[in-house]
């Protein structure tokens, strides 16, 4: 265990616990951004440049901002008065410990992991290698993910669109607005004409 790993782990865990326990939701979101950055630094510490930079680009640059926007748009910035810990926190800890156990067991018993003798040799994967593998070996999963994301985006646009069915009253408003718009230029013209006439 190197010193850099200990420092990074400490910062990441501290930020993560702050993200859980702070009272102000925006502070929690900012602490979460620090956690993401700490995770990225951990990846970089392991020489995984692509994953580390992608983590910063996607999580700190986009997801953290998205979370912050969601908080600001959905509730007022007032500090809540209730307790920080939700009532079901014991069961939450039990479930997360269970998930961690299953994941750890799966990773440690995975055949993709080299046996402990060769573990010290980190595989050197450049961005080029990752791109090649994505485009050749794993091109089908990549395309499926692309399709899924496109579908999600179209869904979001559909949800955000104005509903046409209940706009009978608003349509009337629009028509009225259009009418006034049509009226306005001639009105302006007559106004200008009058002025000119007066002059």
């Amino acid at each position: 265990m190197s010193l850099s790993l200990i420092i990074l782990a400490f910062v990441t865990l501290l930020a993560a616990s702050a993200a859980m326990s702070l009272r102000n939701l925006v502070h929690c979101a900012l602490a979460l951004a620090v956690t993401f950055a700490g995770l990225a630094a951990l990846y970089l510490n392991l020489d995984a440049q692509f994953v580390g930079f992608a983590q910063i680009l996607v999580y700190v640059g986009a997801v953290a901002i998205l979370i912050v926007f969601a908080i600001l748009l959905t509730r007022s910035g007032d500090t809540p008065n209730e307790a920080v810990l939700a009532p079901g926190w014991i069961s939450g800890i039990a479930i997360s410990a269970g998930v961690f156990t299953v994941l750890g067991w799966a990773v440690l018993n995975s055949k993709a992991l080299p046996s402990s003798g060769t573990l010290s040799l980190a595989p050197a994967a450049t961005v080029k290698d990752i791109g090649k593998v994505l485009m050749e070996q794993y091109v089908l999963p990549l395309e499926v993910i692309g399709l899924l994301l496109t579908a999600a985006m179209i869904g979001a646009v559909v949800i955000a669109l104005k509903e046409p069915s209940k706009s009978s009253s608003s349509r009337g408003d629009e028509a009225q607005i259009k009418k006034t718009e049509q009226v306005e230029p001639s009105h302006v013209g007559s106004y200008v004409g009058e002025k000119k006439g007066a002059a």
Binding site: N24, Q49, F53, V60, G61
Partner: protein
């Protein structure tokens, strides 16, 4: 001789490192590079603030600052000493923090702004063999640290507890996220052609000459479009006019840094300009050949002179645009990004792929230019379709 002058900073650094014990050499080497960035770019920032004020003054038919020269002498230097009193003023002003502000976040925001911007300089090649951290995923690193700036803008806007600050921050984040997409997509074309994310490698590919003219990517159809898209998007990313809605002095005072004063304000100002220089430097590296010279006959001029000369030229264009164009409206801003620049950047990627796979001959020039021109016309028509631009009617006071 020319070669020696070209490499003078590299040899100087090697000479200095010779005096340091072996174990400390990586640390001292890093410190030297950091010191150079920390002294050169804020220096350029100081000069650019004066040049901008003078340039805008000339464009608006006034003189601009022309008094301050060297203190205690009669030398005026055409007002180029102006940045010294500006700096002293911002250092000595009272640091006002609003009572309702979120103190910690308010304090951290300018730091979170400046640190990623300074990190971005690590991967830019300023000259031949003059990259601080020359690694494989340099371009990705640049965009990744750029993403952290948005967080700082939000921190500044939210923690001030001021409606103008929050509005400015919202505008800034919406604008940055929208224009980051065409920015990255226009850079992707270069990565496709070069086949590497390493910025030194990208410059090296453009360092070749046919008929005495350099192989800069801007001299190809896809590169020209890519450069123009990158240029517009970098204007927006650095919150410069005509995309200065986040700051819009006449509407929301100064946007997200309304509630900052004194040195923190100066840090925001510095961060914004350093971000602008960094993104211009990336544009130069990607499309304008980095430190290479445009003509084979001019390669005797040192590489760093070319880099900083190009930087100065583009900064001048930025100032010129600021003095010329009015501010966009929010809907115009979003329409330009999502309905024009994004589709054009996507089409440009396809064009770059066609360029890569066609034979090196005149047909590929014809095909690629025709594709881009067609896309430009169609997209431009689409953008203008719902704009009822009739003859203007003027009303005059009589």
């Amino acid at each position: 001789m020319a070669d020696k002058i070209d490499q003078i900073f590299v040899t100087l650094k090697a000479l200095l490192l010779g005096y340091v014990p072996e174990a400390l050499q990586p640390l001292v080497s890093g410190l030297l590079s950091v010191l150079l960035v920390l002294s050169v770019f804020p220096g350029i920032f100081a000069l650019v603030t004066v040049i901008e004020r003078k340039g805008l003054g000339r464009i608006q038919n006034r003189l601009g600052p022309n008094r301050v020269g060297i203190p205690f002498t009669k030398i005026r230097l055409c007002g180029f000493g102006q940045f010294i009193p500006d700096g002293i003023k911002s250092l000595t002003k009272e640091d006002v923090v609003p009572r309702a502000a979120d103190k910690v976040v308010h304090y951290l925001a300018p730091i979170v702004m400046l640190v990623p911007v300074l990190l971005a300089y690590a991967v830019l090649p300023f000259g031949r063999h003059m990259t601080i951290a020359d690694f494989d995923a340099g371009l990705l690193f640049f965009f990744a640290v750029g993403g952290a700036v948005e967080v700082s803008v939000f921190m500044a806007g939210w923690s001030s507890r001021n409606k103008y600050s929050l509005l400015g921050a919202m505008r800034a984040i919406a604008q940055m996220i929208s224009y980051e997409i065409p920015l990255i997509l226009s850079a992707v074309t270069v990565v496709m052609i070069v086949g590497s994310l390493n910025l030194s490698e990208i410059v090296q590919q453009q360092n070749a000459y046919t008929h005495g003219l350099a192989h800069w990517f801007v001299f190809t159809p896809w590169g020209l479009v890519g450069f123009l898209l990158f240029f517009i998007a970098s204007l927006a990313e650095s919150n410069r006019c005509p995309f200065d809605l986040p700051e819009a002095e006449s509407e929301i005072i100064a946007g997200y840094f309304t509630e900052y004063s004194g040195f923190k304000f100066a840090l925001f100002f510095l961060g914004e300009y350093l971000g602008m220089f960094a993104i211009i430097g990336l544009g130069i590296t990607l499309f304008l050949g980095g430190w290479t010279s445009p003509l084979a006959a001019l390669t005797w001029i040192p590489s760093y002179v070319w880099f900083f000369g190009k930087l100065a030229a583009i900064v001048f264009v930025f100032i010129w645009i600021r003095g010329t164009l009015p501010r966009l409206r929010m809907d115009q801003l979003m329409n330009l990004a999502w309905k024009f620049m994004l589709p054009l950047a996507l089409i440009n990627i396809v064009v770059a792929a066609i360029w890569h796979f066609m034979a090196v001959d005149w047909p590929r020039w014809l095909v690629c230019s025709a594709l881009i021109f067609g896309a430009y016309v169609v997209l431009g028509r689409g953008l203008m379709k719902h704009q009822k631009l009739g003859k203007r009617t003027y009303r005059f006071a009589e």
